[in-house]
Amino acid sequence: MSVAVELRHISKRFPGVIANKDVSMKVETGTVHALVGENGAGKSTVMKILYGMQRPDGGEILVNGQAVNFKNPNDAIDASIGMVHQHFMLADNFTVLENIILGAEPKHGITIDFAAARKKVADMSAAYGLDVDPDILVEELGVGQRQRVEILKVLYRGARILIFDEPTAVLVPQEVDDLFNALKGLRAEGMAIIFISHKLDEVLRVADDVTVVRAGSTVAEVKSKDVTARQLAELMVGSELPQPTTHGDTRRPEITLALKDVSIPTKSGSRDLISHISFDLHAGEVIGIAGVEGNGQAELVEAIMGLREYTGQIEFKGENIDHFTVAHRHDAGIGLIPEDRQRQGLMMASPLWENRILGHQRSKPVMRGFVLDKKATIADTRTIMQEFDVRAPGPQTLAAALSGGNQQKFIVGREMSKAPSLLVASHPTRGVDVGAQAAIWEELRRAREKGMAVVLISADLEELIGMSDRLLVMLRGAITAQLDPQKTTPEQLGSAMTGAK
């Protein structure tokens, strides 16, 4: 087998950030080569350099043994490199065919030869099992089909080296299987495939070789058959993996949150969104809410935060808060880590210090009397960033410029800064990398020891079992089981969630 692509000591610096320090990798033809690393480790940057979207500051790129110097993606395309972007690069109002041929149209005199293009696309579809109707508008396609169009686009340009940037992030499991079958077909055709991911089980399923990058440098090149997911994860993080655990019983006698027969009826009279939920939560206790998504967890959070009308009573520190507004509840000491950090937790186009204000717009240090204290807010934002290890140039950085893990750490830091008595944490570590996950767990542990009560909602069963003092299982809006995490395995919890006996 020959080497299709070799990267030697690539480095790339952006203002304020070093994206790549020293990345090297060697991809052989006829293989699937995974590039793994935490969010922000520099995976995407190195691939953008390989695809000519950015110029490296140092290092060498060799394609089929020849040193190359790409000025733009066209050069990379000419060198038979193709990129399947994570966020699809498709024009919705164009047909599949138009999207595929754009920039490389077959001509017939001065017009586009649509017939020839259609035939070529049909041939490719058949050869690689990438079935899609060429004359349909892209806006009518589902996510899996759009990805097929992206792959066809790349193949149409004669690519032999294919870069997939986190291709499974947007797919449902069935579509992932289809994609992996297609990848195997392409590999059998002698193509070199670079697969960027941080989902290690998928990497082990599909890749032959794995290159691990950490903080902008290559730290390991291994064969996938020689490693386990755990070993890969440890290579990515650079230390032993953190475990979601808590130590000892920190529960205090006083009750922080009490729900009494809380329901959210629907107007149409069908099944309640949540029905007759009652529990007591003590200070220093973590209660885990387990359940398949869409079984009322989100509505439960909204009821506790006052975002939705409910029947029944909610008491906070012995006081009935049913008539409290959302703002009032925040001020009383309830913190929220929302389930969708980009839609509910942050203003993506605003700097971090403005995001610091969200939910704290009535209290110090943000306000001084009736005036916004910008200076103190910025200073406090800087403190949060230091304490919670939010990696960004400074408080003026836009929230959108942060990686998912850093966004989440910032939200956790913001909520913790007011030392809430109760934290409602909805999927606090979803979609964040291992390092950020460990940091967030550590924060929850520390706050719990100080007497904070936590309502933890998560889809990560190990997290639920490890972090909770008590587990409640929600099914179709009702609590169907109460479990002791000490005596529960993920399998048992999983079957309880689906209602199996």
């Binding site: 953008k48 972007h85 699809f88 919705d92 754009l102």
Partner: protein
């Protein structure tokens, strides 16, 4: 495609049939006269040119409110160069001046990322002021008869469709079959003949070119790779860039073509529709062109229909206010059709609204014999407004229209 053109022909026939019925009822013979049809064509052309100009710009992703200003520049240049060097050079100068205005817009919006509407409005204001200033200079220099009017321009030759509409071909005088047919006032047949004669007879060569712009722009935008790339810049510029399309170049091309067409539209007003440049000659036709673009849902054929509607209403109000009165009956009939359609679809509320409006217009038609002059002048605008609000269409503008684009958006 075949089906579509059959349907188009059927609709046109139906429209003429309805018009001839109304003509018969009201006796407003100008509704379908040769003069009306030919004036409607003449009045539509500048709007078609502005609309197709807007099409190129907006399909490449640049909103072009500045069409009006580019038309003003074109009209002025048409008068200035046309009166000195003849109409053809005048038209060339009109195209060039429109494109210069567009270049300013392109540099501001594409290279410097200025908000498209702000830049466009600025161009409209600057263009109006600039031509007034230049005209005044020329008047003071003694070469222009007034500060708001250019000397006369010699006219461009006209011709007709051979055999049917008269005209001269290499010394041969073609017979004119349609005119005598139109003068018979036979129901429907004479109406069709008159409209055809109006649209195909005594045509300025420039009109023929301008109307040819419509199919040509469709061909360029949908059948050539240049067109595909230009449209991709307006739909998904980042995707286009990732495939090696030079998005800046496409946007510049779109805006410059847009300015050239708008300028030609302005020049047409000065040279063909009139025989000199006059201040305020453009009178909002750039904006009407944009309205036609929206009416046509960003497609050339639709622009033609929108411009034709406006041109027809404008021609009627210029020629005969009695015909405008008759037009109210047309509105009544259209609304009655809508009532029928909505009832069949089960939309009773909108059917009721249409029925009430229809009754109101019928009462208005019967109660008022002569329309007040102001209302007559407003007709083209009201007609455009009415049709746009009644044609419940799904507007599909280019996805990235008006969004400033920066190279390297891939990051």
């Amino acid at each position: 495609m075949k089906l579509k053109s059959t349907k188009l022909l059927l609709n046109a026939t139906l429209l003429i049939l309805v018009l001839s019925i109304i003509r018969l009822i009201t006796g407003a013979s100008d509704l379908t006269s040769i003069g009306t049809a030919s004036a409607a064509l003449l009045l539509s052309v500048p709007i078609v040119l502005a609309g197709v100009g807007g099409l190129f710009s907006e399909r490449s992703g640049v909103v072009n409110i500045g069409l009006e200003g580019m038309m003003i520049l074109g009209a002025w240049a048409g008068g200035f160069i046309g009166s000195k060097h003849g109409p053809w050079l005048g038209l060339a100068a009109a195209i060039f001046f429109g494109a210069v205005g567009a270049l300013v817009h392109a540099v501001a919006t594409i290279t410097f990322g200025v908000d498209h509407v702000v830049s466009g409005v600025a161009i409209n204001i600057i263009a109006a002021g600039l031509v007034r200033y230049l005209s005044t200079l020329l008047y003071q220099g003694g070469s222009w008869p007034g500060p708001s009017q250019s000397p006369d321009i010699s006219s461009i030759a006209t011709n007709g469709l051979p055999v049917l509409s008269g005209g001269t071909y290499a010394g041969w005088h073609s017979p004119d079959i349609l005119t005598p047919l139109a003068e018979k006032h036979w129901f429907f047949i004479s109406d069709v003949a008159a409209i055809l004669r109006g649209l195909t007879g005594d045509l300025s060569y420039v009109t023929v070119v301008a109307i040819a712009v419509v199919p040509l722009s469709f061909f360029i935008l949908w059948k050539t790779s240049f067109g595909l790339r230009l449209r991709s810049a307006g739909e998904a510029p980042i995707a286009a860039e990732s495939l090696g399309v030079n998005v800046y170049l496409m946007k510049y091309a779109g805006v410059l073509i847009s300015g050239g067409l708008a300028g030609l539209g302005g020049g047409f007003l000065a040279i063909v529709a009139a025989n000199h440049y006059q201040e305020n000659q453009v009178a909002g036709r750039g904006y009407i062109g944009l309205a036609a673009l929206l009416f046509g849902n960003y497609r050339p054929g639709g622009i033609l229909a929108g411009a034709g509607l406006f041109g027809f209403a404008d021609a009627l109000q210029l020629r005969d206010s009695a015909a405008i009165h008759a037009l109210i009956l047309l509105i009544v009939l259209v609304l009655a059709y809508l009532v029928y359609r909505d009832i069949r679809k089960g939309k009773h509320v909108s059917a009721a609204i249409s029925a009430i409006m229809s009754a109101a217009f019928l009462w208005f038609y019967l109660a008022v014999d002569v329309l007040p002059g102001q209302l007559v002048t407003m007709t083209p605008y009201i007609a455009t407004l009415l049709v746009m609000s009644l044609a419940s269409q799904r507007l599909r503008m280019p996805a990235a229209d008006g969004i400033p684009y920066r190279r390297g958006g891939l990051r």
